[in-house]
């Protein structure tokens, strides 16, 4: 979900994606950088992203991932269900309101 969300803003390659997620989460999410790749492969297989080899600004051959329409739809669904879940959790966790 995080990956799709990030890619929705603009297409990125793997390294950039890692840095992006690290920054956005204020370094709260300390994951092994490598673990991103299996996740990307899964999205690739499910057709939610597509990848192309490009030359980056730093003149490096990089593989840039873009979100596909299917990926966007999936992301929307995921977000809305995630929000509902979050809502539910919040409701349960706040006893004062009842």
């Amino acid at each position: 979900m995080m990956v799709l969300q990030s890619l929705q803003r603009h297409p990125m390659h793997g390294y950039a994606l890692v840095q992006h997620i690290k920054q956005r989460s204020n370094e709260l999410l300390q994951v092994e950088e490598g673990s991103l790749y299996p996740a990307l492969q899964r999205l690739l297989k499910e057709g939610q992203v597509k990848a192309e080899w490009e030359i980056s600004l730093s003149n490096r051959r990089v593989r840039t991932y873009r979100i596909t329409p299917a990926g966007k739809k999936h992301l929307e669904r995921e977000i809305s269900s995630f929000e509902r879940m979050l809502e539910g959790i919040t409701l349960v966790l706040s006893p004062s309101e009842s």
Partner: protein, 878 residues
């Protein structure tokens, strides 16, 4: 379609992934260096943050696979490469298993073919046979009159049919051959629910009294063999014992009658049987010669049917005293139904032994695998260290084990098939059409596969324990699994003991069988079959009647005596080990000849004068018959000692009298030694002999055996005898064979059991040798250094040997004793297989111990030599 395309694009995907990861690392390194790190530092940090590159790319690749299957396939591929690297190990393992599984496949196929197989008819499960009494004791046949009552007055069956086997001279065109078929009731095919391949069957509506339906239905195989499957056979006439029968149909392919091995060539209505055989079984309530099979009505249990038939039998006994004591039991028709079938017990016993062999093989492989896992512990530890899970490694080892076991299973099944196809063409009973339907079917293959896989898991899981407990660090340091985790050693001891016990048990079984065999071959037969040749014929096949037959037999005996080199010749209606019948014997003065009044039943033979001398049977007292004992003189009989003792006690038998029925009265004129009549293992049977010229109650036989004793070579005498008898009557089919053959034939089951047991014993012995050898050499090599030191410190050879080989020897002893005890406990099981011997025989006990000791010596000889050849100086230097 997607996965299909993936198959081809996958390599692209993988290389993209690896390149991407490399680029990632490179970029990271650059970024870190930009922040001031040195190159090596940056590289290290990049890798640290990235995580396990190999794991990541593997997991990335896994996304594209059918995860389970492919990783298993990869395991298999790796296992194959691994096994190819140690061909010796692989070969040994596969051969060991092939032997074990092959033995099981053979035995199970036989079991499946002979016992578990249902009859080849539609819905065999509701076909039941009506047998005499309580179903035990093997007396299955019924009389025709009783059959009619059961069929017409009992309501349990939708249909009940009867049949009997008949040996008939069959003439097609000019040739006249001996053949076997069924005389069957009109409803036979309808009850079985069969449809003809060609033409039609006979039905109950064809039965209009004796000899009313001269029709014959050919078996599919016979139609192929004799008539080349020509459709023109319908309407043709063939002669059964010179009586014309019209071919009306051909049975369906795959239907071979309802007996265990006997395949009839044809079926004819039993109302016409008397016309063919000359003796009419139909009117007699006490001629039990028909097998009766029926289909139970839906909802009727065999138990209910048995009760209902017995109620009827009691009623029938009230109506006709010949049915006194009649009772019946309903059992499943076909081989599966006969619960007290001795062959079934024997086969189950052998199956058990075969499984034991397989168990021994598995145990053997388990210890080889355990040793192999120990040798490979370095490799395995490294694999664990670089991130392979224990489960992964376990799966890898199991894959290897199952792969080997499947290969072994396939090889074993292949050899079993070869053996079985040879076996299924085996015709142990001369021209009598026996067939063993034992070629493997789906059930057999399924069992073979299941066995292989179970075996694989069995011996694959034992080393697994070691892997599970491996301490990676320790193992990498020392290069072997450290001794702490090697508590599996005790397990290996137990494995070896089990293996040796199994082996001892099998060796015991085979020794018992061999000894029983030898004993039964030395048993006195009551005649001397060696150098005696028999020419058998049923003269009715050429249209002879009783009176003519006896005259013809006399001419044949004369012709046979005239052959140069023949020292004696005689005739009979049949001879021991070649069939023959029996009659109930009644004491002198009996007036009511009911089964409940009889003294006993005795084997009956009709002899010509000179038979006793030709056969080599000793006449204890009295005289032989002469050609003057005929219908014009009073009935005379020769009896054996068992008969004399049973009927007359300790009185002299000569001059005593007995009866078979009101008009069949006999005076004893001679007593001969006891003998064996049907089987080498039977208890002493009463037997009686009448002159062929008198017959029992004046019924002269048409069956004839000419017996000659001669020193000529077998080929010569066979040819000469054939010339002599065909010179007298060319139109009769003769079967000429040495008498020894007939006796050998009676030994076929025992001999087969002996061979099987010996083979199993040998297999088990081989396995035990390799097992002990493996154990001994392992313990020697493991302690080589230690022994070197001990020798250097002055230990004697004997002490060194004791410390290295002590353990295998003790295990050997324990295993042997357990096996021997098992053998003694299972002696009752073995007595089903072979007569005249039990494991309690001291000679056998000694033999087994000796064999095991020999095996132990053989197996530990090489390791022992290795121990003795230790050169301490060299060893310590290493």
């Amino acid at each position: 379609m997607n996965w299909f395309r993936q198959l081809f694009t996958r390599n692209r995907i993988y290389s993209d992934l690896s390149e991407e990861i490399e680029q990632h690392l490179a970029e990271k390194v650059e970024a870190l260096m930009a922040s001031g790190m040195s190159h090596p530092q940056a590289e290290q940090a990049a890798r640290r943050e990235f995580g396990n590159v190999a794991r990541v790319s593997e997991r990335g690749r896994e996304i594209w696979m059918w995860p389970r299957i492919e990783s298993i396939l990869a395991d298999i591929g790796f296992a194959i490469r691994k096994l190819r690297k140690s061909p010796g190990f692989t070969f040994t393992a596969i051969v060991t298993l092939a032997l074990g599984i092959g033995a099981n496949v053979v035995v199970f196929s036989v079991l499946n073919g002979l016992i578990l197989r249902p009859l080849d008819v539609p819905q065999p499960e509701n076909l039941f046979q009506v047998v005499h009494g309580n179903g035990k004791g093997g007396w299955t046949s019924q009389s025709y009159r009783d059959y009619l009552d059961y069929r017409d007055r009992d309501l349990s069956f939708t249909g009940l049919m009867a049949y009997q086997m008949q040996r008939v001279g069959l003439s097609v065109g000019k040739s006249n051959t001996r053949s076997w078929g069924y005389a069957a009731s009109g409803n036979y095919f309808d009850v079985l629910g069969l449809k003809p391949t060609l033409g039609r069957f006979f039905h109950a509506t064809d039965e209009h009294g004796p000899a009313s339906a001269p029709f014959i239905v050919l078996s599919y195989d016979f139609w192929h063999r004799q008539f080349n499957a020509s459709p023109d056979v319908l309407g043709q006439t063939i002669q059964l014992n010179q009586h014309p029968f019209t071919i009306i149909g051909v049975s369906p392919e795959g239907f071979h009658g309802t007996d265990d091995f006997f395949w009839p060539d044809y079926w004819f209505p039993l109302l016409n049987a008397a016309q063919i055989t000359g003796s009419d079984d139909l009117p007699w309530r006490d001629h039990y010669s028909f097998d009766v099979i029926g289909r139970l009505k839906p909802g009727v249990t065999p138990h209910q049917a048995t009760d209902s038939l017995n109620a009827l039998a009691t009623q029938m006994a009230k109506e006709d005293r010949k049915d006194d004591g009649l009772s019946a039991t309903v059992i499943q028709a076909g081989p599966a139904g006969k619960t007290d079938n001795p062959m079934k017990k024997a086969l189950l016993g052998i199956m058990l032994l075969a499984l034991l062999v397989l168990l021994a093989a598995c145990v053997n492989l388990a210890s080889i695998f355990a040793a192999r896992a120990a040798d490979r512990s370095g490799e395995l530890a490294i694999r664990m260290a670089i991130g392979s899970s224990r489960w992964h490694i376990l799966r890898q080892l199991l894959t290897e084990a199952v792969l080997i076991s499947i290969a072994g299973g396939i090889a074993g099944t292949f050899f079993a098939r070869l053996l079985l196809s040879a076996l299924s063409h085996w015709q142990p009973f001369g021209d009598f059409p026996t067939h063993f339907l034992i070629s493997p079917d789906h059930r057999v293959y399924f069992v073979a596969m299941a066995l292989s896989i179970v075996c694989g898991f069995l011996f694959g899981l034992i080393p697994a324990r070691q892997i599970w407990n491996t301490n990676v660090l320790q193992t990498i340091k020392t290069g072997t699994l450290q001794s702490e985790t090697f508590r599996g050693f005790a397990l290996r001891d137990i494995l070896l003991v089990v293996q040796i016990a199994v082996c001892t048990l099998l060796v015991t079984a085979s020794l018992v069988a061999v000894r029983g065999m030898r004993r039964s071959l030395q048993v006195p037969l009551g005649f001397q079959p060696h150098n005696v040749t028999l020419a058998q014929a049923d003269l009715r096949m050429a249209g002879y009647t009783g009176e003519q037959s006896v005259a013809l037999l006399k001419r044949m005996i004369d012709a046979a005596s005239a052959i140069p080199g023949v020292t004696a010749a005689a005739g009979a209606d049949s001879v021991p080990f070649q069939g023959g019948g029996g009659w109930f014997v009644y004491r002198w003065g009996t007036t009511e000849f009911l089964p409940s009044h009889m003294a006993f039943g005795a084997d009956t033979y009709l002899l010509s004068p000179g038979y006793l001398q030709t056969a080599g049977t000793r006449l204890m007292v009295g005289r032989d018959f002469t050609w003057h004992d005929d219908k014009s003189t009073p009935g005379v009989a020769i009896i054996n000692e068992a008969f004399a003792h049973k009927l007359f006690g300790n009185q002299s038998a000569i001059g005593q009298r007995f009866m078979l029925w009101a008009t069949a009265k006999y005076e004893v004129v001679g007593v001969v030694e006891d003998g064996k009549y049907g089987s080498l293992v039977e208890d002493p049977q009463p037997a009686m002999f009448f002159p062929v010229t008198q017959g029992p109650g004046g019924f002269l036989p048409t069956r004839a055996v000419v017996i000659v004793r001669s020193q000529l070579s077998q080929d010569q005498i066979t040819a000469e005898l054939r010339k002599a008898v065909t010179g007298v009557e060319p139109n009769v089919p003769y079967a000429i064979a040495p008498w020894d053959d007939a006796i050998d034939r009676s030994m076929v089951p025992a001999r087969a059991a002996t061979v099987v047991l010996s083979i199993m014993g040998m297999l088990a012995a081989m396995l035990a040798i390799t097992g002990i050898f493996g154990m001994a050499s392992y313990s020697v090599s493991k302690r080589l250094k230690e022994q070197g030191i001990r020798i250097a410190l002055g230990a004697q050879h004997l002490q060194v040997m004791r410390s290295t080989l002590g353990r295998p020897v003790i295990l050997l002893l324990i295993g042997s004793v357990i096996g021997l005890l098992l053998g003694v406990f299972t002696s009752s099981l073995m007595s089903h297989l072979v007569a005249y011997a039990t494991p309690r025989d001291p000679l056998i006990l000694a033999g087994v111990l000796f064999t095991m000791l020999l095996l132990g010596l053989l197996a530990s000889f090489i390791p022992a030599r290795r121990t003795l050849a230790i050169d301490p100086a060299q060893l310590l230097r290493e």
